[in-house]
Symmetry: C2
Subunit: 345 residues, 2 copies
Amino acid sequence: MKPKKRTTIYDIAEKLNITASSVSRALNNSSHVNEETKKLVLKTAAELNYKRNILASNLRKGESKTIGIVVPRINQNIFSNVIAGIEETTYSKDYNLIICQSNESHEKEVKSVNALINQHVDCIVISVAAEGSDYSHLQNVIDHGIKLIQFDRVADEVETLKVLNDNHQASLEGITHLIEQGYKRIALLEGPQNLDIFRQRKQGYLEALKLHNLPVINELIIENAWTKELGAEATRKLLNLPEPPDAIFASTSDFSALGVLEVATSMGIKVPSELGILGYSNEPFTELTSPSITTIDQFSHYMGKTIANLYFQESENKESPVVPRTISVKPKLIIRASTSRRSYK
Amino acid sequence: MKPKKRTTIYDIAEKLNITASSVSRALNNSSHVNEETKKLVLKTAAELNYKRNILASNLRKGESKTIGIVVPRINQNIFSNVIAGIEETTYSKDYNLIICQSNESHEKEVKSVNALINQHVDCIVISVAAEGSDYSHLQNVIDHGIKLIQFDRVADEVETLKVLNDNHQASLEGITHLIEQGYKRIALLEGPQNLDIFRQRKQGYLEALKLHNLPVINELIIENAWTKELGAEATRKLLNLPEPPDAIFASTSDFSALGVLEVATSMGIKVPSELGILGYSNEPFTELTSPSITTIDQFSHYMGKTIANLYFQESENKESPVVPRTISVKPKLIIRASTSRRSYK
DNA sequence: AAATTATGTGCAATCGATTGCATTTATAAA
DNA sequence: TTTATAAATGCAATCGATTGCACATAATTT
């Protein structure tokens, strides 16, 4: 692969006996060029297979038309949908996306964020890793004059635009549904409590119990059970209690709920009659398990679009400072077989 | 968000009363700087919260330390795994990934590729969209001196590095397994035949039939049935034939196989006893359906690592031209319930 | 002590595109 | 015909980092 020299505006200029300035103006469709010249430049550019060097352009203009996204994992339903939503909206405006995965590692998250700052992205969209409690790297983004939008898993203390679900409400509705189905000893698999979303889900759970005069039983609340494996482990423990729960709310994810289901099945416990299972996120597979899993849909695709629009909205009024604000999307309970012991069509 | 001016090497230089050259050398750990100066620069850089402007650096150096990836959809198992594999390998070398989705649209694929060329990425890794047959945009990549690696769905005629599965072999093994399980009228749901991988899978199917002296029945071969919906539709047609198939190989994807399963279930046809189902890709959900779906694992994570290593290998010997070559990974048949009518543990 | 070699630093050009200002040319107004 | 105005183009600086070359100083060798 010979390092062929790429065509620049100077090559075009030389060929047409004009200056690079005019070529640049022509390519940028400026009104200060003759229509003739413009056409000629465009034609020559095509002939020479010219591609604008975005690096140079961005360096000069001080913008990058690039949005960086940092998520724990791209192949989780909510994240891939948010990304898709952002992409659909930004694509038409010729924005690029740089996507990074933190793999739930705080260190990698920090490294990714710094790499994006280096890249001079115009905006960073992030859902933070579960690990970690120091968010100075986010403050750093703001200090560099880069817009920052947090979604779903947000760091409270960093004041930015935030797009998230009403986790409290969703949780409340979910538990209420369980109670209506006649479940009385409802266990909670909770996520890392340093993350707001998991705290909110717990609050919703607690509030629902309270509203229905059900006692909070501490041994039914299991910390950090947020992967399939941890969910399975927690379930084993729970189902072996002298008084086991009759329902489990895997508030962390559907993966965790899947762990619950597998253990229950392997122990010969019938779902939903003997055990109700409620997940979170509406992963596609929740429809496919038997029984299918009741879960909560986060409208993640819509969230993605919202995020992108928020960015464009903000970048229009450059002068005025960003007013930190939170957009809350109301999630939806998707009732399926795993909790429907009274009725399920 | 005030457009705070970011610290540059000139700021550091000024503060230390040296030139930008020295600062640059210090930051790049060149051997031509005094240790003292180096320390001082590093310290000051940290104090001023300096972040190298990669745009400027890349512009000057003519490289970008960025790899562009174009895939049909990031949330398909093979693609998200390949991406993860590439990321793991490139991460430690401080490379950035720009990920684009073509959404199976040829137009979007072309636009993405061009955007990546503009970005001056060092390498483009692509799995082409099903739509489209003109691959001049790929030739274009090469003509711009950018390394190109195709994987999985490759355009044959473009001579590049290719990393793919031995689709023919996998298909052959899969069908052989079906035959061993006693299935005799095996239908094929085929993908767009302009893509090599789907042609190969068909060849494997045909060869397996031949080897076992089974006739090829044209009405059992359905074109372009490669989404869940199309798979379902094809299945409806097949199962309503006077002589319906006793097994269906959804050679295009597990999604298609899922469509098959759903239709079969809704028609009250028992899987695997009355109908065997074989998918392709080992999507996570294939384990979860009931019955679980037999499928073919592509070692996609490993493919990702292979791709990244291939790139680094190639970029080391800059002088010598790239020798187009193909690395073939042998996929593995994952036998599950949907085809196990003789035995399934 | 003179000659040679390291070592560290500065100067200035470079990467490619953009843009404010100046200049030329064409057009309209006086 | 002269002057005012508009349109098109050129000039040159700029964005920030890198690097070949030149030069000065220090260390080493004869």
